[in-house]
């Protein structure tokens, strides 16, 4: 039987191919912990300050284990990942954080998420500032994608040690009086620069630009790059041009350290005390503390933002439709975004609540931050939050904002004149919006 062994060989080969097909075809899904416990995954970026809340929730619900992913990460890296998970129908956490600038894009495809209105969220409306609630709502008002977490009330963070070195006042109320407007902020910057401390006055013009444009737009029509009918108005909206011109004055005065925001260099510049002020939405305090480290504790303080008011950033929590534990996830999301949850997060990492009840709570109103020389963060950020004018964000907001800020960056680095930069901003924004 000379042929027999070869049949066997053929069978082995067939089995091998089969096995290969099998292994390449499927990956096993196995997140059931076995003992009736379920694991809820929460995807975030930056610092949401939920650690203690998770513990509290897990103690009250022994059947639930909570895992957070992405803590401290960059929004630029987080959002493409989230989009891929949603597109693949797999991989996203049971709860995902969505930043306000990207909310519009996710809302355009609401089927990727659980409609929270179907799960008794309507009664929570009063727990949120009205505009924050509306941000989570689809255009037709029929679906609620996300529950608000924080808002980005504005302030100006500054280094008291560098201010003292430059012979400027260091006490926060006096500093606030130095710069009611951005023009005066620039004038202070020039004084600071003349003192030659070895540090720049501000970190990078891009963040400052974004602060100014959100302020001017909020005070004017309530929109910046897109009008409320979703037309791109970068070139015709006076609020954008006004913010651009102010930023160009800052760059022209040589006040920027040109540390590209969120880059390694930016982080190093924090550590090495290379700049004296930074535009500071409420959530930025956690970032500063993380970047500058313990050794800079007590050297930072917080003053009012020039130009007054404004909102930058803030997020929502959503439950992807692909979650295997939707009911549990919705319950947790409601807990985390409740007034008490928002207060708890604020205490840990400082994101400013989007709930009016939380904002009025003494825990917020009287809160101080030891890292920032005991600054009364609750009043500084909370004051404006309840009355602030939100800015509408259109469909390709993120892409357009990228182009405009990038144009600021090229001027800051001396690659473009302010006029060329503005042309780039307008042209590239149009191109981005058309993509």
């Amino acid at each position: 039987m000379a042929t027999f062994p070869r049949h066997r060989l053929a069978a082995v080969a067939l089995a091998t191919v089969g096995a290969l097909l099998a292994t390449s075809g499927c990956a096993s899904d196995d997140d059931a912990a076995g003992d009736g416990q379920i694991t809820l995954t929460v995807d975030v970026f930056g610092q949401f300050g939920y650690e203690q809340l998770y513990q509290e929730y897990m103690d009250a619900n022994p059947g639930v284990k909570i895992v957070e992913r992405g803590t401290g990460g960059n929004l630029d890296e987080y959002s493409p990942k989230l989009t891929q998970w949603l597109a693949a129908g797999k991989g996203a956490g049971d709860i995902v954080a969505i930043e306000e600038g990207l909310m519009v894009e996710y809302k355009a495809n609401p089927d990727n998420f659980v409609n929270l209105l179907d799960h008794g969220a309507a009664e929570l409306k009063g727990n949120f500032l009205e505009w924050k609630w509306n941000q989570g709502l689809t255009a037709d008002g029929q679906k609620l994608i996300g529950l608000g977490t924080d808002v980005g009330g504005m302030a100006m963070c500054y280094r008291t040690d560098l201010f003292a070195k430059a012979g400027l006042p260091t006490e926060r109320d006096e500093v606030s009086k130095l710069w009611p407007t951005w023009e005066e902020y620039i004038a202070v910057g020039e004084r600071f620069k003349a003192a030659d401390t070895g540090a720049s006055f501000l970190d990078a013009a891009t963040n400052t630009f974004n602060t100014i444009v959100l302020q001017t737009a909020g005070k004017a029509q309530g929109y910046h790059y897109y009008d409320t009918s979703n037309n791109l108005v970068v070139d015709s909206n006076p609020a954008v041009k006004q913010a651009w011109d102010t930023t160009m004055k800052i760059i022209g005065a040589g006040l920027s350290g040109k540390y590209g925001s969120w880059s390694e260099e930016w982080v190093s510049a924090f550590k090495q005390s290379k700049f004296a002020t930074i535009a500071c939405p409420a959530w930025m305090t956690g970032v500063i503390e993380g970047n500058a480290g313990a050794e800079a504790s007590g050297k930072w303080d917080i003053a009012r933002v020039p130009g007054d008011g404004g909102n930058w950033g803030g997020s929502h929590l959503a439950v992807p439709a692909q979650s295997k534990h939707k009911e549990e996830a919705i319950k947790l999301a409601k807990f985390l975004t409740s007034p008490q949850g928002q207060i708890g997060a604020f205490k840990v990492k400082g994101p400013l609540p989007s709930s009016p009840q939380a904002l009025s709570d003494p825990a917020i109103a009287e809160a101080t931050n030891a890292y920032f020389s005991g600054a009364p963060i609750g009043t500084i950020f909370g004051e404006g939050a309840k009355t602030l004018q939100p800015v509408y964000m259109g469909p390709k907001n993120q892409a357009v904002r990228t182009e405009v800020e990038n144009a600021v960056r090229t001027v800051e680095l001396g690659q473009r004149t302010p006029e060329q930069g503005w042309q780039d901003a307008v042209n590239n924004a149009k191109k981005a919006a058309a993509k």
């Binding site: 039987m1 000379a2 042929t3 070869r6 049949h7 060989l9 053929a10 080969a13 067939l14 091998t16 191919v17 290969l20 097909l21 390449s24 960059n74 630029d76 959002s79 493409p80 989009t83 891929q84 949603l86 597109a87 894009e105 996710y106 355009a108 495809n109 089927d111 990727n112 891009t206 040109k258 540390y259 590209g260 925001s261 969120w262 880059s263 390694e264 260099e265 930016w266 190093s268 510049a269 090495q272 290379k274 390709k396 993120q398 892409a399 990228t402 800020e405 990038n406 960056r409 090229t410 680095l413 690659q415 981005a432 993509k435």
Partner: protein, 335 residues
């Protein structure tokens, strides 16, 4: 081999006609089809991981396909026509080719030279040979991040060293040529040793008597290298060039992690070092999520690699024939 075996007439007669013919039939089927089964694993894997994604990407590239949207619409070659008129795309093509040339040419020359050195009688030869491969075992991401810091504008070590010798700091990340140089440096740092080892292995297969004969004819070391070593390494050089071409044109991790912070995917404020793969990512994922357009970029990248690989082969053939020993040339002339 299997066919040969079966060409033999059936040996020892087996009891029962039906069983015999059944065995015969089975053996014929076996002879005919089992070879295909043996080579099937490669083709199955290639079909799953090679052909299918290639075809699917092409299919996607013919659509207006929002990554999150549910209903992609067929738009034919629209993505391609738009792409061919997209200045940012061509900018990324130039970047890719620039970085490719800046990294591959010195890399392969250096590898050849290193291999030649390592092929000589050296003390601790094995140690040296292993040492050149060490950079290759480090993770690309780690290399890119470390180099990204070294090439920092204000806090980078390179600019600090330049400053020591009185040269003004260079904007490594926002000057187009400087960023190409920086990225090429890390590619070379990582891959030179790897190519050197491949060259070395090929060199050791060259018979020693060729060198002895050349030495008797009065050829010095350099002459031996160019007239004996290089021509005989031709297949290996072609291999290395093609592998480097594929790697070089797909460059992503190094330039992506070289930049950090907001919009790192652009490779600098004016897209100074944005490669084609980065442009593909920017369009297919954040911030555009235009999967169709990104897929079109992927297909043009595929076309570009094919073209560059063909050009490479032609150039190497030309080089190889001109570097042949004189007699060979003369013979060629008579043909």
């Amino acid at each position: 081999m299997a066919l040969q075996l079966d060409a033999r007439p059936p040996t020892a007669p087996t009891p029962g006609r039906s069983r015999l013919s059944r065995a015969g039939r089975l053996s014929r089927i076996d002879a005919k089809y089992s070879p295909y089964l043996y080579i099937a694993p490669f083709f199955v894997i290639f079909a799953i991981f090679g052909a299918w994604p290639l075809a699917y990407t092409f299919w996607v590239s013919l659509h207006d396909w929002d990554l999150l949207g549910s209903n992609p619409t067929f738009i034919g070659a629209d993505n391609y026509t738009r792409l061919l008129a997209d200045s940012d795309f061509w900018h990324s093509v130039v970047n890719t080719l620039g970085i490719f040339l800046l990294s591959t040419v010195p890399q392969l020359l250096l590898a050849l030279w290193l291999a030649n050195l390592l092929n000589r009688q050296l003390r601790m030869r094995t140690g040296w040979r292993m040492a050149v491969l060490v950079p290759n075992v480090t993770s690309t991401a780690a290399v890119a991040i470390v180099f990204g810091v070294l090439f920092g504008r204000e806090f980078g070590m390179i600019n600090w060293l330049l400053d020591l010798v009185g040269i003004d700091g260079i904007e490594w990340k926002s000057n187009r040529f400087a960023s190409w140089v920086a990225i090429s440096t890390m590619v070379d740092w990582r891959w030179t040793g790897y190519n050197a080892l491949i060259f070395l292995a090929a060199m050791q297969a060259i018979p020693r008597d060729l060198y002895e004969a050349a030495a008797i004819d009065g050829a010095n070391r350099a002459r031996q290298f160019w007239s004996v070593t290089v021509p005989l390494l031709k297949p290996t050089i072609i291999f290395c060039v093609i592998i480097s071409t594929i790697g070089g044109l797909q460059l992503f991790t190094e330039p992506r992690l070289f930049h950090s912070g907001t919009n790192a995917i652009r490779g600098g404020p004016l897209r100074e070092s944005q490669t084609m793969t980065m442009y593909m990512f920017e369009n297919a994922f954040a911030p555009y999520y235009n999967f169709g357009y990104g897929s079109a970029v992927a297909w043009l990248l595929f076309a570009l690699i094919a073209i560059v690989a063909a050009i490479n082969v032609l150039i190497i053939r030309r080089l190889g024939s001109s570097a042949r020993p004189p007699e060979a040339k003369r013979k060629g002339g008579f043909r």
